[in-house]
């Protein structure tokens, strides 16, 4: 199905996946590496007897938060402002980027450090700032690696999971002057530690994402394992935290539920190394929170899809997805890949992302691992209906489906088509056994066509 999905020359998921799989040993490695992460998640969940109850609670808290989102946002704004945090509102990606540039400009800063924030990836903040002369240094190790390589993260928790240590070694040799051919992760991490310490200390502004924003206290929580978010913000005189509107939870005690689920679902750790609770800027520091919509309020209005806004970005659905593991994050051509990306991105751009809800067998494993119980595979199915309705499915597919629907609505026609089809297959196997015309046949034999259908047998013998 080779169709370039938009004018920008981006490959469709199916085509990009085919390229990815053409290196089979590497595909196996990618699959096994991520399956290992899924297995760690299983082990961690088994150690918590109340695991399924926690998932239900998390889901219910998010349902409640979304149903009262406007009021909670206002409460958060009021409390945060009283705490000395400055709140900004951005309707879309462009406004979000401009707010950050304005803060940088106001202070006359020309550089900043940034810890992981998928929202800023979604808004394409880095290219925007770089175009405006700002040096942006991503400080999560995986993100720094892909930034050096001028790539995007292929996974929201493990940004460089598509790379092997030789790749990282080559990249660090080029950018950090590490020893050529030294692939030792310990050595490479140490090199990055030295390089980034200097950036942390010299950077006047640090940007972070937000994992949870608490309405009742006006504070927010940022979770990392490396400590890069904290190193950046505690050293900087200005801290900007960017959050989507859906990050709100009502009460501080709700955090217990989410922090018990988040890291266990993501990597199998019982909790991330650092769970930092920010409520006030430190003395002399400026703290900003940018609250971003960028299509989220629209998604809230789609009853079938609003559930996707419950996502806490643990990526458990990535790790369990048999399609993601064998096609790599970049084949999804969006900031957030994987199953959750496939239901979030059509909301951002239906035409450009029309292929994503089809990049799934609907096996349902994603919904089972989701810590907030998003019905991911059901939403994938529902997006397919919307995309077909809105005309974002290839016309040839529509014609084929119309033909099928017609045949299946008429028993006589179905019997006729079946009989003729089987006869043709038996008489002229070359018709179906054609690798160019029939994708099934490329790597699979066709089923043998029997002389008699079950119905024919039944009529002959049982009636």
């Amino acid at each position: 199905m080779s169709d370039v999905i938009n004018g920008k020359g981006v490959l469709s998921h199916a085509d990009a996946a085919e390229v990815f799989i053409s290196d089979e040993p590497r595909t196996d490695w990618h699959d096994e590496t991520l399956w290992f992460v899924r297995s760690k998640r299983d082990k961690a969940s088994l150690q918590v007897p109340e695991w399924e109850e926690l998932r239900s609670l998390a889901s219910a808290i998010k349902d409640h938060s979304l149903s009262n989102l406007d009021n909670y946002l206002k409460e958060f704004e009021e409390k945060a402002t009283a705490n000395g945090i400055r709140i900004h509102w951005a309707a879309d990606a462009g406004e979000h980027n401009q707010i950050i540039l304005d803060i940088l400009k106001k202070h006359g800063f020309s550089k900043m450090v940034k810890s992981k924030s998928m929202l800023t990836e979604e808004c394409h903040l880095n290219p925007f700032l770089e175009k405006n002369g700002i040096e942006v240094v991503d400080t999560d190790l995986g993100e720094r690696i892909v930034q050096f390589r001028q790539e995007t993260p292929s996974h929201i928790v493990l940004p460089a999971i598509h790379l092997k240590k030789q790749d990282v070694s080559d990249t660090f040799h080029e950018h950090l002057g590490t020893e050529k051919g030294n692939n030792d992760p310990q050595y490479l991490t140490e090199a990055a530690r030295g390089h980034l310490r200097e950036k942390f200390i010299s950077s006047p502004l640090a940007l972070t994402g937000v994992n949870f924003a608490i309405a009742e206290t006006g504070g927010f929580v940022v979770c990392t394992n490396e400590g890069n978010a904290d190193m950046g913000v505690h050293a900087a005189s200005v801290h900007i935290a960017c959050m989507g509107v859906e990050k709100i939870i009502p009460r501080a005690k709700d955090l217990a539920v989410f922090l018990r689920l988040l890291a266990r679902s993501a990597t199998g750790q019982p909790i991330t190394t650092y769970s930092s609770h920010f409520h006030k800027p430190r003395r002399g520091q400026e703290m900003h929170v940018v609250i971003v919509d960028n299509g989220r309020s629209r998604q809230l209005g789609r009853a079938d899809f609003r559930n996707s806004l419950k996502c806490i970005r643990c990526a458990a659905c990535f790790n369990t997805c048999p399609v993601y593991r064998r096609s790599g994050g970049h084949s999804y051509h969006t900031a957030v890949a994987g199953p959750i990306g496939a239901i979030l991105n059509p909301n951002l751009d239906m035409k450009a992302n029309a292929d994503l809800p089809f990049a799934s067998t609907l096996c349902g494993s994603c919904s089972n691992v989701c810590p907030v119980k998003i019905d991911i595979h059901e939403q994938l199915w529902k997006w397919r209906q919307v995309l077909a309705e809105e005309g974002h499915v290839a016309p040839s597919k529509k014609v084929a489906m119309k033909g099928l629907a017609f045949i299946f609505s008429s028993p006589a026609l179905f019997r006729f088509a079946g009989r003729v089809g089987r006869k043709m297959m038996r008489a002229f196997p070359g018709l179906m056994n054609n690798k160019k015309m029939n994708p099934w046949y490329k790597q699979r034999e066709m089923p043998e066509a029997p002389a008699q259908s079950f119905r024919d047998w039944f009529k002959e013998n049982k009636t």
Binding site: L141, T189, I271, P281, L300, G301
Partner: protein, 195 residues
């Protein structure tokens, strides 16, 4: 219309009917047996080390020995000796970068995950637990809670900044190989004081 109004009014128009907030009740009773031993184990799993002690003598010894070896030590625990008064809320990162070992106290530890909870006032400066090469934390054995629910019930003041810290800094961003000491502390020792 400002973006704020636009966003809030769209949300008001699009949000579903109010769903009640759930009661945070679990059917499983938290395990309260062998809290100290289980905390030690939990911290070990996440690459930290807990040492159960009768008093802080070994921590004091550690502090003095590190200093004697010529390393820059920051101490914020009065029971261990004089406080590092030169470190304040706004001490710059440049000054703190050479910190070799920091001694801090935490409010309590969490048995289910090995974390400790500490607030800004216990750090003297927010950067201290991150920028030091090695981190030592002191808690009382009686200050252990079973899980995160009990943890949040116990926190009375989050201050301007509060932190659950669980083990030394780590990353697995290169081929999923676990490396300890990404950006923050390379090691964590927690002294759990009994009695």
């Amino acid at each position: 219309m400002s973006s704020r109004e636009k966003i809030l009014s769209t949300i008001t128009a699009n949000k579903p009917a109010l769903v009640a907030a759930p009661e945070l009740v679990l059917s499983v009773v938290a395990d309260r047996e062998n809290m100290v031993a289980r905390y030690v184990k939990a911290l070990e799993v996440i690459a930290g080390k807990a040492v159960v002690v009768k008093n802080l003598d070994s921590a004091i010894e550690d502090l003095n020995a590190t200093r004697a070896a010529g390393h820059y030590v920051v101490n914020t625990v009065s029971a261990l000796g004089p406080l590092s008064d030169e470190v304040t809320t706004d001490t710059h990162a440049d000054t703190l970068e050479p910190v070799y070992k920091a001694f801090l106290s935490a409010e309590f530890g969490v048995v289910e995950n090995g974390a400790v909870w500490m607030t800004e006032s216990q750090m003297q400066n927010r950067l201290v637990p991150f920028i030091c090469q090695h981190l030592v934390i002191c808690i009382h054995a009686t200050d252990l809670v079973a899980n995160m629910h009990e943890a949040y019930d116990r926190i009375s003041d989050m201050e301007g900044y509060g932190l659950f810290l669980a083990g030394p800094s780590k990353t697995a961003d290169i081929e999923q190989s676990l490396v300890i000491g990404a950006h923050g502390a390379r090691s964590l020792v927690v002294y759990v004081v009994e009695g």
